[in-house]
Symmetry: C2
Subunit: 259 residues, 2 copies
């Protein structure tokens, strides 16, 4: 079936996924481009709606071989649903994983967890998810007020890592104390901290704060504070740069890796 | 003097600084917003053209106290010259520092230098300049094909660090051998590298490659190769995340800092 009208109801419902509220209501989000879509299909994800640009018989063949159904759409339709200005011929609406954090600390995955306290920038969030994945983290906690991990920009920056680890939305002030009680070390990057990593259990949470304001006081009080040594004239680092360094240092420490 | 026309010749000449070619020809670039502009004025930089939004008597008083001249402009004028959608009431065209790298290795600053081999993304470049500054780096080398450090996006991401260290444009294949001969260690982040930092002199260059293709073969052959241990499923890191980690690790090592 070929869809050429941008006013088609299916197109309109996919297009609405640009809005966070529509993503939340529908429980779906959009993934764009060859890499993200085929990663998802190969991981066994069945799209709710899959669009292939008319004439991309290469994509049609690969998608059919994976047993997925699709709509052939015009370039104009693909452009209207995609966030990127030059969409790569394929996009899919897929079900968003369950983001509600477990009630009990026992039901969290073990190991390294990155927690974000009201992180605002989708590019920073995606970059942090990618670094957390690269360093073997088991989960990312999105504290209240953090940007959406399933927005097009955050997904793009995460380069597929969004699907490699668990993502939970939670109230950090409720979740972190439970994790601490069950044996997780809690560390946060903070300007008032010591210039070295504290002792860490193999289960540990590294908390990264908001771009402008850092970690909120209530959350910082739950954690060991730690700041990166600053040797030059910059007063602070970009949030995703600081997070990447802290996640790497933590992963090295709990895994006994020398670098 | 109040300028309200977006067609005014002064306004047009400042607006042109959005283009890299115009920045190169004029030897000027635009800095936007309270923080960047006042950092520059307080560092003694004399703007070529300074615009203050009509009615911002607070900025007028501070600028006058610093002895700088300015034009009062309408909101529409400020919006037409600025890259940000919501300009913060002040912007200045300033002279770009000399970017030509010294002929002789003796004339380079000593210590830690970050070198970028065809880095494309202005946000990544700004973030790397900020991290390099934070870690006490003396200079950043922009290899041929790298994005402009004085574009609005790169300046914004660098948060003022662009003016805290030396920035040189150069052909890395010519500059790096000279630096190595004069005693600099050369290291680059590379997927084929060892998973640990090599021995380093206090003078050292850390080379970061292009977002998609990494460090080019000719440059990699000049360096010790080093890769970050990857413990999860991500195949690589964002360029500025990888650079931030490598710069931090290098700074720790050459300064004997434990973390």
């Amino acid at each position: 079936m070929l869809i050429t009208s941008t006013k088609n109801e299916i197109v309109k419902s996919v297009r609405r996924l640009r809005d966070r509220s529509a993503r939340r209501e529908s429980g779906q989000h959009l993934i764009e481009g060859e890499r993200l879509v085929f990663d998802a299909l190969e991981a066994g994800i069945v799209p709710e709606t899959l669009f292939i640009e008319q004439g991309r018989t290469d994509f049609e063949a690969r998608v059919s071989a994976l047993g997925a159904e699709f709509f052939s759409v015009s370039r104009a339709v693909l452009e209207t649903v995609c966030d990127t200005s030059a969409p790569q011929g394929i996009a899919a609406a897929v079900r968003t994983p369950e983001l509600t954090a477990p009630e009990s600390a026992e039901d969290f995955p073990h190991g390294l967890i990155a927690a974000l306290d009201a992180l605002q920038d989708p590019g920073n969030l995606g970059t942090i998810i990618r670094t957390a994945d690269a360093m073997g983290a088991a989960a990312v906690l999105l504290g209240t007020g953090s940007t959406d991990a399933f927005s097009p920009k955050a997904l793009r920056a995460a380069m597929g890592s969004t699907y490699h680890l668990r993502i939970f939305q939670c109230e950090l002030s409720e979740t972190l104390p439970k994790l601490r009680e069950s044996g997780f070390s809690l560390v946060c990057g903070h300007l008032a901290g010591e210039e070295r990593l504290p002792m860490l259990n193999r289960d540990c949470v590294i908390v990264i704060g908001n771009e402008a304001n850092g970690v909120s006081d209530g959350i910082a009080r739950l954690c060991s504070l730690c700041r990166l040594p600053m040797l030059g004239r910059a007063e602070s680092l970009n949030a995703s740069a600081a997070a990447s360094i802290l996640i790497f240092e933590t992963a090295k420490k709990i895994n006994g890796i020398e670098f």
